[in-house]
Structures are given as structure tokens and as C-alpha cells.
């Protein structure tokens, strides 16, 4: 069978026929919904009047919090995110009113006519400010091993520092959207752009005061999500549902880009402080790191995100004595949320930058220092939280990528180039990633499926995961086809629907294929077992022999292993099974075994396994303007036995470039009153086709089956995001070349042209001063 069948929606994509929420064709009396949100970072709502707005022609209804029939809450777990503001607002972008109108223009007019009086209050707009005022969203968390505080005092060398990482906008091409259609009685159907149909169903039920069985949520596909639609996609469904319920008409909410960038959460900004102790060989003996995240105005997923940051603070390195603490701080910004990597990148940035410093300090190549600190195979292989790093691929990948990228030869070439070029500098860096796979909230590691076989021998696969472009449905289709031995053309994957598979976890944590693939397999195993006796009977009667050996289902045929030619077709088998009154549909279920974590002790085995990868990047920096361009990147990434190589390579290149954006051009600045300044693509710059490395080589690690997951594969969605630390640190290497690597450059993330230029200028002025002395 083809190792890489096309994305199952590829034809729909390229012909423009793929349907997204805003394309759904409903009756002509569908209304548009508009969210009226707070212009203040923190304020009291003194009074408001909706009369004039309600009289605008085409306006059907305007809702405030009093019109919510159920609970005024978007976060059923933490209860700290009101659906509509009541008495106060806590960020710019917090929803206050909802307008339903016949046209967008009418809704826009109405918004202008709402009169509302706010009393602005002092707001907290930075991590530093929150730290000073002590506004946390939960108590700090800690993971510790050995005697870090003791060892750091006796370490041969100690470096101390701070690393800041920036916020990142998801910039899914399809903005947040939801369509809600009222049905019979209280029923409501939600067409959502959400990674989390079950939570969407629950939130809609909560705000409307309905039971879960009265709300159906369907997700056909998303036009990108990247975490931005894990928790926050449900908000738009709740708002559309309130309007649909109030007007008893279908209501569509589609955010325009500016509103999406202004009101939705981002990747958490971080501010981390560290001390790192090491010996003359660059071996790390102690690491003390304190990670601080900007959670925004509500809890959202910040606790889990912080936890993952802690779990990845040591990245691929064995550090005997380590203290990792972390706090998520409450500020008056829209609540920050899940974003590919989920805290992992913020955690890893610190150690990667610290190792880079060690290398410069000791004048040893940074790739070498990394290698010296890698987790061991049989010893030095325990993570700070006590999980053993099994099936460690770091050494294999390091050897391969050093050769593939001609790392040491190019190191020399880069140095030569830099000696002969005053202002254009080149840099080179290798960085690894080790990423834990599983939801760290252990109970979420479960999934369901419902596989239907129709009488004509075709399959319809339902599963709990959602398709956001990552190719999950393609992989589910492949798995079902392989397990029941039918051609891909006979299998279809249905839109994800809460009435088919209930109580699902979000499609997140890179776990979509691992969890749902196993659930699909569990269903197909049941079906296969039910069909088996019937198949044997049919072969026996057709060919007059008793099949005693193993029965194979392959390419639409069923036969005994040793009698390949004596086969029956899958269609015939299914038709017979129906006559024989055998059920042709089955549910599947899977829960990842053996994972657990004790949050109080900071110990456990939170991950099913680890994914590994490495990248080498070369960059050229114009140190007079700060402009950088990427000459070459080589990646070797571990996805176990790939289910679909082309899709996996696409995940690696997509994640890497998204990471590159976070590390370089994607900068968010805020005004003093908390207004986001970079709220449109005019000033918020994600990578274009011009920003990818001129030479971009991606290779999947071969002969690396993963015994822990479906078809020996590995999760791939998030891990390669963090490979973008290689271009990030290559930039630093280039800046460092300005001072002939004698000065540690001021460096944070993103390394945008402003940071690069000012950092290079600082080194130039240090050099001048040195000359003067």
C-alpha cells in the first residue's frame, strides 16, 4: 500500500470545495452575530443603554449577561471567565454584549450606537508588574532533584541570566467562527471551528441551561488551529448559541482578522531567570531555573501549559542537580492559551540559551557541549520528575545530522567568512529536541471511535479527533483500511460529531493519532473478530476446505495465509454477515496505560514516550540593519514508523517554520493602556515563502519503530516546533561574531531585526571602549 496517500481532503482543498464554518450554506434568514468587547484593560461598568442600538434597522436582538439563560461562565473547570462581562471588565477584548443582525453592516452600526460608561481602573500589563503585585493564578509549581542549591555554590563555573520569550499569535488562516442552528424544542446544533467538540458542547449547554444531550456539536475541519481553538473555539460557539437561542434563528459568528488578533489569547510570554553550574568540559552539574508565564486575565489552560514548560526545562540533557520552579501570573490581557508546544518552547529556550553561553564561555563548540550533556542510554537517563528516558535516539540523530550537515566543516567556513566580512555575519547552530508525548493531565489520555460498515462494503469512520490540517483524518482512514484490509477508496472519515463519539478529549498535545488511532483500531478489531467466523465459513463452503491457518484481510480480499488464491471479497463477506445477523458497527475505546503524575511531589511518569529531533541551521545577518536570512537548515526527526511520510514531513516543515516565526519576526507590542499594537498582518509578520531556508532538508529517522503507539508510529505535531531554536541560536552566533565571540550578546526571543541590531551595536561599542582602554 502507498506509504503516503494524499491528504484525504486534498482535492477539496485545491478545488475550493472544502467547507469551513463560514461556507456552510443555510437558509437565507441566517443572522450574523457580533461581539461587542471592552476597550479597557480593567474597568468598572457603571451603566449602559442599548435602546438606540436596538432600533437600528436590521438589528434583531442585543444580549447582555442578564439574558444568559444558563450560567455566565466559559470555563466550567475554573469558573473565572465570564461569558459576558458583569459589572467589570478585565481585559481589552472581553465580551460585553452580543448583537444579532440581518447584515454585518447593521451589526456594525448598532455597535456604534451602544452607550456604555466605564470607570477605568489601574491594570496589570506585564509579568514584572504582576510579580511585584503578586497576582498569580495558582500557587507556584516545582520539580526538583539532587542538591541544586548546594552544588551551584561549589560548581567550577556558574553563569546567571534571564531569558524573555515573546507572545505569539496563532494566525490560523481561518479566524474563529461558529454557526449555531436552533432545532426542535430546546435543541441546538453547533457547527464549530474547534479542537474540542465535547467542551464546546458542554459550554454551550452550560450557558443555555441545557443538558448535554440537547446540544450537538460538529466539526468538519478547521482552517488551522495550532492550539488557538483548543479552549477558545468554544467561546464563539457559546456566543453564537446565545444569539441563536434568543432569536430562534441560525446565527453565524466569524471574526474579522483584527478582532481575532485583538481578543483571542496568544502563546504565553515568559520571563525566566536561571543559574547554571558546570565544569571545565561543559558538563552541567546544577541548574536552577524559575519560569514565569503571563497567563492573562483567566486561568484557561495556563496551569497545564506551565506544567509542560517545567517538564521541558532540561530538554535533552541529563542534569543531576536541578530545581525547576514556575508560576503563571495573572494580568489584564486576554487570557493566553494553548499554542503548539504548549509551554515546552518557553521551558526549553532557557536551557538552550544557557548551553550556548557555556560554549562561548569555555570556547568549546556548542554542538559539542550539547552532546556531552545528552541523556544517557543506560545510565544518566532519569528525568528530573523521575521518568526514564527510554529508546533514546539523541546519539543516533546527532551522529547522522553532524555528517549530513557537514557541521564541523561548515563551522570552519562560517568562521572564515566572518573574518573577511565586517558587517554581514554568518552563524551556525545545532539544537536538539526531546518532547514528552501525552496529555500531562493524565485522564485526558483517552479516545473513542465508532466504525460503521455498510452493506456495500464501504466504511464510515467516526472518531473523537478533529481535523485542522494535520492529516489526522487521513491517518485514521489509513488505519481503518489497513486493519480491515480494504482499499482506501472504500473508507470515508466522517465529520467529528458529539452525537457519534461522546466525551472526547481535545485534539491537542500531538496525541490525535496516538489516541484516536488506537480507538479506531479497537473498533476494527472488534469488527474483524465478529466477521472472522463468517469469513471462515464462506471460504470453507466456496473452496471446500477448512481454513486452519491465520486469516488475512488485505486489499478487499479475505483468505487463509497459505491459500491466498482461495479468497472471498470483503463485500461478499459483509453482505453475508448482514444475512447472518452480525452487527456491522462497533465502538472503539483507548486509554493510554501506565501514565501518572503527582503534582505535589513533582514526580511520576507523565509521558507515554518521548519524540526526538535535531536541526542544524545556518543564517546570514546584516548587523547594520538586523536583517537575517536563512541559508540552510537540515533536520532529522523521529516519528517512529511513519504512518504517512509526506504528511509527517509536512508537519515537521510547518512546525519548524512556525517556530522560526516565533523566534524571529513575530513581535507583539502593547501600548501603555494595554492595547495590542500588532493586531493585524500589516504589522504582525508571520513567515512568507521568502523567509524559509534557501536550502531546507528534512529527513525522517529510519528504522526507529516506536513500540508504544499505533502502528509503531510517533506523534509529530508539536516537537519540531522547537527545532527552530537552531536558527534562533545561529542568529546569536552571528551576532557574537561581531565581537569575535569575546562578548556574550544580549539575546532574547524573538530575535527580530531590532534585537539583532541593538545587540550588535552593543558589542560594537564594547569593542570600541576596549580599544580606547
Amino acid at each position: 500500500m502507498n506509504k503516503s496517500p494524499n491528504h484525504e481532503s486534498a482535492i477539496q482543498h485545491v478545488t475550493g470545495k472544502a467547507v469551513y464554518v463560514s461556507d456552510i450554506n443555510l437558509s437565507s434568514d441566517m443572522l450574523v452575530g457580533r461581539i461587542v468587547y471592552s476597550p479597557h484593560a480593567k474597568a468598572k461598568i457603571v451603566s449602559y443603554d442599548l435602546k438606540a442600538a436596538l432600533s437600528v434597522k436590521g438589528v434583531v436582538d442585543i444580549l447582555d449577561y442578564k439574558r444568559i439563560p444558563g450560567v455566565n461562565q466559559l470555563n466550567p473547570h475554573k469558573n473565572d471567565e465570564p461569558c459576558l462581562a458583569q459589572g467589570e471588565v478585565n481585559c481589552i477584548g472581553q465580551a460585553v454584549f452580543l448583537i444579532a443582525a440581518k447584515t454585518e453592516e447593521a451589526a456594525f452600526e448598532a455597535e456604534k450606537k451602544i452607550s456604555i460608561l466605564y470607570e477605568p481602573l489601574p491594570a496589570i500589563l506585564s509579568i514584572e508588574d504582576a510579580m511585584e503585585k503578586g497576582t498569580t493564578i495558582a500557587p507556584p509549581r516545582c520539580i526538583e532533584r539532587g542538591k541544586p542549591f548546594e552544588v551551584i555554590t561549589t560548581a567550577k563555573h556558574v553563569l546567571e541570566g534571564e531569558v524573555k520569550t515573546g507572545a505569539q499569535e496563532h494566525w490560523y488562516l481561518e479566524t474563529q467562527a461558529a454557526l449555531c442552528v436552533p432545532g426542535e424544542g430546546k435543541e441546538i446544533k453547533v457547527y464549530a471551528s474547534s479542537q474540542n467538540p465535547t467542551e464546546t458542547q458542554e459550554v454551550v449547554a452550560d450557558v443555555l441551561g441545557l443538558n448535554a444531550n440537547e446540544v450537538e456539536c460538529e466539526v468538519k475541519r478547521m482552517g488551522g488551529a495550532f492550539g488557538g481553538k483548543e479552549s477558545q473555539g468554544s467561546h464563539f460557539a457559546a456566543w453564537a448559541a446565545l444569539l441563536a437561542n434568543a432569536t430562534r434563528k441560525a446565527v453565524l459568528i466569524v471574526l474579522n482578522r483584527d478582532d481575532d488578533q485583538k481578543i483571542t489569547g496568544k502563546r504565553h510570554r515568559s520571563l525566566s531567570k536561571y543559574k547554571i553550574g558546570f565544569n571545565g568540559k561543559g558538563e552541567i552539574t546544577a541548574f536552577i531555573v524559575d519560569i514565569n508565564l503571563d497567563a492573562g486575565m483567566a486561568t484557561d489552560l495556563s496551569i497545564a501549559i506551565l506544567e509542560r514548560a517545567l517538564f521541558h526545562a532540561e530538554n535533552s540533557y541529563y542534569i543531576p542537580n536541578i530545581s525547576i520552579t514556575g508560576t503563571a501570573w495573572k494580568t489584564n490581557l486576554p487570557s493566553n492559551t494553548a499554542y503548539r508546544g504548549f509551554g515546552g518552547p518557553q521551558g526549553m529556550a532557557v536551557i538552550e540559551n544557557a548551553i550556548d553561553r557555556i560554549a562561548r564561555f569555555l570556547k568549546i563548540d556548542a554542538a559539542e557541549v550539547r552532546h556531552r550533556n545528552f541523556y544517557g542510554i543506560d545510565s544518566r537517563n532519569q528525568t528530573p520528575y523521575g521518568q526514564t528516558v527510554e529508546y533514546n535516539k539523541l546519539y543516533t540523530i546527532w551522529d547522522k545530522i553532524i555528517a549530513k550537515s557537514s557541521y564541523f566543516e561548515r563551522r570552519k567556513l562560517v568562521d572564515e567568512f566572518n573574518t573577511s566580512s565586517e558587517f554581514i555575519k554568518r552563524g551556525l547552530a545545532l539544537t536538539p529536541v526531546k518532547f514528552g508525548i501525552s496529555f500531562t493531565t493524565s485522564f485526558l489520555n483517552q479516545a473513542g471511535a465508532l466504525v460503521l460498515i455498510y452493506k456495500d462494503g464501504t466504511l464510515l469512520v467516526n472518531h473523537g479527533g478533529t481535523e485542522m490540517g494535520q492529516g489526522l483524518n487521513t491517518k485514521m482512514l489509513q488505519i481503518a483500511a489497513l486493519e480491515l484490509g480494504v482499499p482506501l477508496s472504500k473508507v470515508k472519515v466522517n465529520a467529528t460529531n458529539t452525537s457519534k463519539v461522546p466525551n472526547t478529549s481535545p485534539t491537542a498535545a500531538s496525541s490525535g493519532t496516538d489516541l484516536n488511532g488506537m480507538a479506531v483500531k479497537n473498533a476494527t478489531d472488534k469488527l474483524r473478530a465478529r466477521l472472522l467466523p463468517c469469513a471462515k465459513k464462506m471460504i470453507a463452503s466456496k473452496y471446500s476446505f477448512e481454513p486452519m491457518g491465520e486469516i488475512h484481510f488485505e486489499n478487499g480480499e479475505i483468505f487463509e495465509a497459505n491459500n491466498r488464491k482461495k479468497s472471498i471479497t470483503f463485500e461478499a463477506l459483509v453482505a453475508q454477515a448482514h444475512f447472518d445477523q452480525i452487527s456491522l458497527h462497533a465502538t472503539g475505546y483507548y486509554a493510554t496505560p501506565g501514565i501518572h503524575f503527582d503534582r505535589n511531589l513533582g514526580k511520576g511518569e507523565p509521558f507515554n514516550y518521548f519524540a526526538f529531533g535535531m536541526a542544524v541551521s545556518e543564517v546570514e545577518v546584516d548587523t547594520l540593519t538586523g536583517y537575517s536570512r536563512f541559508l540552510r537548515t537540515d533536520i532529522i526527526h523521529d516519528v517512529g514508523d511513519s504512518i504517512n511520510e509526506k504528511i509527517d514531513i509536512g508537519q515537521v516543515s510547518g512546525a519548524f517554520i512556525q517556530g522560526l516565526g516565533w523566534c524571529t519576526t513575530e513581535t507583539i507590542r502593547w501600548a501603555k493602556d494595554g492595547r495590542i499594537l500588532n493586531y493585524s498582518p500589516d504589522t504582525y509578520k508571520i513567515p512568507t515563502i521568502d523567509d524559509i531556508p534557501l536550502e531546507f532538508n528534512i529527513e525522517l529517522l529510519t528504522d526507529a519503530p516506536n513500540p508504544k503507539a499505533i502502528r509503531k508510529s510517533k506523534a509529530v505535531g508539536e516537537p519540531p516546533f522547537m527545532l527552530a531554536f537552531s536558527p534562533w541560536l545561529a542568529i546569536k552566533d552571528a551576532i557574537s561574531a561581531v565581537g569575535n565571540h569575546k562578548f556574550e550578546p544580549t539575546f532574547n526571543l524573538p530575535a527580530n531585526n531590532e534585537l539583532i541590531l541593538l545587540s550588535a551595536e552593543e558589542i560594537r561599542s564594547k569593542m570600541k571602549n576596549k580599544k580606547k582602554k
Binding site: Y20, F423, I657, D690
Partner: protein, 479 residues
């Protein structure tokens, strides 16, 4: 003359919009027009400001030699009335039916084969951009593909598969159904133009003029002094999309052929105000190499296809890419009204923040760029967050006239450093008569802060702007 309708071809069907009965404004964007029908929802809105390309479509336009020229545009920045007499090709028009089967266009198939779509939302726009490139018969190299696709953002793939698909399909050009149908399209478009050359469309308290001749345009301007002139509309359309600013009266001069001249004239080059940036870029490659670097990083391919030099100049934006460049070339602007014409220097033309010296009855006819003498060096550099599809944070266009090694005259025109594109007069004065070497430049760099007090904004800090501006002087001699 006009009967308040426009006619055009949508894929292969002739369409008419009657503004007396339709729900559309003349300035309704083509994106919103297409998305209001269930059979053309393949086109997507990603940003409504021309910064993502999800709404890309292709325009087929009659050329002088009776063929069709295909080019990609952002349909979110395209006014409905402006497509009169053109062919609009959307994603739905690319496949064709052959007996009972659907045959994909080679561009679509290439994208599938290379796994060039993931979430699929940007894909229709990407397909259309590659299709336009395919139809340009250019056998593009990697850089050409990058230039043509820099206006299409994709957040999923990392672009590599898209780049490879475009390179492969454009190196193996096959005749397609557009070639087969071209003669017919030419005939229909000629017929439309013959029956109705100009358009005056009135609907929903808006009047839209789309004249064919300069004379008509000037008469309209004369009798409606407050009319908003658009020539590409890439700036005006954004304001409508974002702030729901519906302009009462619009004069769209994008069909006026007299402002599209592009020629050598005397000791220089005359560029009609209506010349698109893309057309100018092609012309500059052979004729005015000193303006080429700026044109290559001007917005995106889709925007370059419709944005005009006249439009860029008239916005008088402090960060407009071309104004400092034209200042450095000592370019002159020809302004015309019904009864007279006059010339002004580019720097006189700009009178303040987004203000120019056009009188209410005047239009820009063209710009004269004098030929660069041998003893003159012109260099320009744009600094932006991202190389493509971005606006200047700071830019410098410099003109240095040498007498032996010494600076005889100098223009240092900066963008992004003040409320208008502005010359660094104090720095210029310092350099005047001095030898142009590292030592003098380093001293001159100190003068920049006497010339400018830049601001901090969404793009960069004041500190960065000042340092970058100084360094741009150093770049004049360091390459």
C-alpha cells in the same frame, strides 16, 4: 452613456450586475461579491487587507494585441465596478469536465502531488497565484516563484511543498482550457467594451466613475472636487473593509490609458501615474536599475499587479516605499487639470502627513525620472521586519554626485523617520564637499539625530529607527 450596470466574464460565464436592482455597492469588494453566492465560496477572506492572499483570484485582461493577460490580485482590495470588461477567474473555474469526469488543472494536481495543502484555507489563493504564474509562460526559477507567492501566507506547510509544486508545474507548461477558450473571451470582452467603455454606477448612496479617457476623468474631477480618486485602490479598499468607510463618490482612473504611458523621454523616463508597480518593475529591469531594488520589496505580487506609482505618490504616506526613492532621483510630477498642466518636484508635491499639493481639479498624469548621470550614485535600502510583504520601518534613498572623490551634491531621503518622507538636510550639509569615505560617513552618522526624532510604534522603537538610519549611511559604502 451608462445604464448603471457592469458586465464581465466570471470564469466562462458572462455576468452582469445591475446596480439598480442588486444588493451591491459599486465599491463592494469582489471578495464579498463572490462569497455572496454559494457556487463561488472557494475564495476565502483571511485578513481583508491584502496581507495574506487567501482571497487571490486571477484577472484576465484584454491586451493591445488582442490576447488575454492573466494576473493575480487580492479580491478583498478590488472594487466590483472596476471589473467591468474583464474576465475574473476563481478557483471554481480551474477544473474542467471531460465527459463525465472532472479533470483538475495541472496546477491543482501539482499541489496535491506535493502535499501542498494542509488545512486548505489558504489553498485556493495559493492555487490562483501559481495559476497566474503558470499562465505567464515564464519558466520561473526559485526566486521568481518566491516573488510571485510572497503575497500568499500559509501557516501550515512551511511553504517548501508549495514552492516545489510551483517550480515543477511551471517547468512543464501544457495548453489548458483557458488557451482553448481565449479567442472567445477576447471577442466577448471586446464586445462589452465596445458597447460600454466607461461606467458610472450609482447605488446605495454611492457614485462610482470608471472613465475610459483622461478628458472624462478630468471633467469628473472638475465638477466633483471632493471625489475620491483611486488608481489601484489598495489603500482605499482597506479603509472600507476595516472601518466601514463608504466613500460617496469614487473616481477610478485605472482604465484611463493616457496615464499608463511608460517611455523614454528626453533625458529621462516618463512613467504614467497609472503604471502598476509590477509593470514598472519589468521596465526598470532594463531601463532604470536604480529603482529596481525598492520595487522588488514593494508589498506583494498581487498588490504590485494593481497598485500604481501615482497612487503610491498621492497617498503621501511617511512610509510609502517610492517617495524617498523618487526624491533621490530628483523626479518631477506632472499634474493636469482640464485646462492646464504643471510640473512640481516630488518633495514639493508632499505637503504634510498624508497630504499633497494636488488642487481639487487636478490629477497626477505622470512622473519624470531623469536619467542618472555617470558621476552620480543612487542607492536605496528598505529596512522592514520582514523582507517581503511589509512596509518600511526605515528606508533610505540616497543620491550622491561626485566631483573626483568629493561630494558635489547629495540627497539623503529617508522614509519612516518623520511624519513625511524627509531629507536629512543637516547630514547632507555636513557631507557636502567632503571626501566620501568611512571616516566622514562615521562622523555624518552622528548628525542623523540632529535631523530626525523618530517615534516608537507597532513596527519598531525610536532607538532602533535612529540606529538603523545611521547605519544605512554606512551601508552606502559597505555594499
Amino acid at each position: 452613456m451608462s445604464n448603471n450596470r457592469i458586465k464581465f466574464i466570471l470564469n466562462s460565464t458572462v455576468k452582469e450586475v445591475d446596480f439598480n436592482t442588486s444588493n451591491f455597492r459599486p465599491s463592494t469588494t469582489v471578495l464579498n461579491y463572490l462569497r455572496s453566492f454559494n457556487d463561488t465560496k472557494g475564495v476565502k477572506e483571511g485578513c481583508a487587507e491584502g496581507d495574506c492572499g487567501a482571497c487571490s483570484i486571477v484577472i484576465g485582461e484584454l491586451t493591445e494585441n488582442n490576447s488575454i493577460r492573466y494576473y493575480s490580485v487580492d479580491s478583498c482590495l478590488l472594487f466590483l465596478a472596476s471589473i467591468h470588461g474583464k474576465q475574473i477567474i476563481t478557483i471554481e473555474g480551474l477544473e474542467r469536465k471531460l465527459e463525465n469526469r472532472t479533470v483538475l488543472h495541472p496546477v491543482q494536481q501539482a499541489l496535491i502531488d506535493h502535499f501542498g495543502s494542509q488545512c486548505g484555507f489558504c489553498t485556493p489563493g495559493i492555487v490562483m497565484s501559481i495559476f497566474a504564474l503558470y499562465k505567464s509562460n515564464a519558466y520561473p526559477n526559485r526566486n521568481d516563484v518566491v516573488q510571485n507567492l510572497s503575497g500568499n501566507l500559509c501557516r501550515c506547510t512551511g511553504y517548501e511543498p508549495i514552492l516545489n509544486a510551483a517550480l515543477e508545474v511551471c517547468s512543464n507548461l501544457q495548453p489548458d482550457h483557458f488557451d482553448a477558450n481565449e479567442k472567445n473571451v477576447v471577442k466577448i470582452l471586446e464586445e462589452i467594451k465596445r458597447k460600454q467603455a466607461s461606467v458610472i454606477a450609482t447605488a446605495k448612496s454611492q457614485v462610482y466613475h470608471l472613465p475610459e479617457t483622461l478628458q472624462e476623468a478630468l471633467e469628473i474631477k472638475e465638477s466633483n472636487p471632493t471625489v475620491k480618486v483611486v488608481n489601484g485602490a489598495t489603500d482605499t479598499a482597506i479603509r472600507q473593509n476595516k472601518f466601514h468607510e463608504y466613500i460617496e463618490e469614487i473616481l477610478d482612473i485605472s482604465n484611463v490609458s493616457e496615464v499608463k504611458l511608460l517611455s523614454k523621454q528626453g533625458n529621462g523616463f516618463y512613467i504614467g501615474a497609472g503604471v502598476t508597480i509590477e509593470a514598472l518593475k519589468t521596465f526598470a529591469k532594463k531601463n532604470i536599475p536604480t529603482i529596481l531594488p525598492m520595487l522588488e520589496v514593494f508589498a506583494s505580487h498581487q498588490i504590485r499587479n494593481v497598485a500604481t506609482i501615482g497612487g503610491n505618490l498621492a497617498t503621501a504616506s511617511p512610509i510609502g516605499d517610492l517617495i524617498p526613492l523618487l526624491m533621490a532621483h530628483s523626479a518631477r510630477v506632472e499634474l493636469v487639470s482640464s485646462n492646464e498642466s504643471r510640473w512640481v518636484e516630488v518633495q514639493e508635491f508632499i505637503t504634510g502627513y498624508r497630504k499633497n499639493c494636488l488642487k481639487s481639479n487636478e490629477l497626477i498624469k505622470g512622473i519624470l525620472i531623469p536619467k542618472v548621470d555617470e558621476n552620480v550614485t543612487i542607492k536605496s535600502e528598505k529596512v522592514s521586519t520582514r523582507h517581503q510583504l511589509d512596509i518600511s520601518t526605515v528606508s533610505l534613498s540616497a543620491r550622491i554626485e561626485f566631483e573626483m572623490e568629493a561630494v558635489k551634491s547629495i540627497i539623503l531621503a529617508f522614509g519612516g523617520m518623520a511624519e513625511v518622507p524627509k531629507r536629512a538636510l543637516k547630514t547632507e550639509a555636513f557631507l557636502h564637499g567632503k571626501t566620501f569615505n568611512r571616516e566622514t560617513i562615521e562622523k555624518a552618522m552622528e548628525k542623523i539625530s540632529d535631523d530626525f526624532t523618530p517615534i516608537s510604534d507597532a513596527r519598531a522603537s525610536a532607538e532602533y529607527r535612529l540606529v538603523a538610519a545611521k547605519n544605512l549611511l554606512l551601508k552606502l559604502i559597505s555594499g
